[in-house]
């Protein structure tokens, strides 16, 4: 672990046994940096969910032995980043078409739904640089939640998108770097 005034960097060995310890390290850092202005329990719970899902994502999907987690605390926000050089993100849209990073120039920008549970539609919008921004569109409630027809693979993304104020993915084709970024804004600046 390395630390400067605003950020810690943690190398995570992408093993499932290491998740609880790494999670606690991250949460301890945030509590310590918040100091005399402790973050609200609800916010800490959301941060915990996202860190856990980022670490789980590293174990399940990156295919790399190491990921780097950066936890930053500013006056206005908590910023969580997970980086690795593993497999780029692959999403399967609701039309079953695969969207694979790096995106081809001709398909940018792109806006597509990838999952819905009957009430929330998890969508992705990509910009000119290929950065993917996840967002939720609320649907009119259906009689039978579609949660049961499309399971699990998107739960992690759904949790991270709904818990964060902003959730995004970046891929650098030149280096192969993948980066997930989750941001939580404070309603009032940290003292």
């Amino acid at each position: 672990m390395t630390e400067d005034s605003d950020q810690i960097t943690i190398v995570f060995k992408s093993n499932r046994e290491g998740i609880p310890g790494t999670l606690n390290l991250c949460l301890d850092h945030i509590r310590q940096k918040a100091g005399n202005s402790p973050l609200h329990d609800d916010l800490m719970a959301k941060i915990k969910w996202v860190i856990m899902e980022l670490l789980t994502n590293a174990v399940k999907h990156s295919g790399e032995r190491e990921s780097v987690l950066r936890i930053g605390l500013t006056m206005d926000a908590v910023i969580l980043e997970k980086e690795d050089y593993g497999k780029p993100l692959v999403l399967v849209g609701q039309d079953k078409k695969k969207i694979i990073w790096p995106l081809e120039e001709m398909v940018r920008p792109l806006d597509f739904p990838i999952y819905h549970n009957g009430m929330d539609s998890l969508c992705v919008r990509t910009d000119e640089s290929g950065r993917a921004i996840f967002f939720i569109e609320e649907l009119a409630e259906l009689e039978m939640p579609a949660l049961l027809s499309d399971t699990s693979e998107h739960f992690g993304l759904l949790i991270m998108t709904k818990a964060s104020d902003e959730f995004a993915y970046e891929h650098e084709p030149d280096t192969g770097l993948n980066r997930f970024i989750s941001t939580f804004y404070f309603t009032q600046p940290l003292l």
Binding site: R16, N117, L148, S152, G156, I159, A163
Partner: protein, 112 residues
């Protein structure tokens, strides 16, 4: 062993033993649930009284168990969820597909 199981009158009380319901035990939980459901019970009441945290992998296993149970006319109820766990289920709308009760007694009270 992920679940502590007690059965009476085809109603199973299954208490999750670990404090973390996560990737490390999601598959084992799914297998144990499928075994229980396959025994011809009518209701499985899953207690989260020990669980401090649940992740997407475990939630996925829970949904797989429900999908296995539904065509077999087996209900799955969830009880004793701590606030963090319940809030996460609510966040991704799983409270719409599972019946959630405060504790075993409340869940058993719904049976005729």
């Amino acid at each position: 062993m992920i679940l502590k199981v007690e059965e009476a009158n085809r109603v199973v009380q299954a208490t999750i033993l670990p404090q973390e319901a996560s990737l490390s035990n999601a598959d084992a939980f799914k297998e144990e649930m499928i075994t229980i459901i396959g025994k011809g019970v009518r209701l499985v009441i899953v207690s989260f009284e020990n669980v401090n945290y649940i992740d997407s992998s475990f939630l996925g296993s829970l949904v797989v168990a429900l999908k296995y149970a539904m065509p077999r006319n087996v209900d799955i109820y969830l009880v004793s969820l701590k606030p963090d766990v319940k809030n996460l289920l609510t966040l991704i709308r799983m409270d719409k597909v599972f019946r959630i009760f405060n504790d075993y007694e409340e869940a058993l009270g719904t049976l005729s």
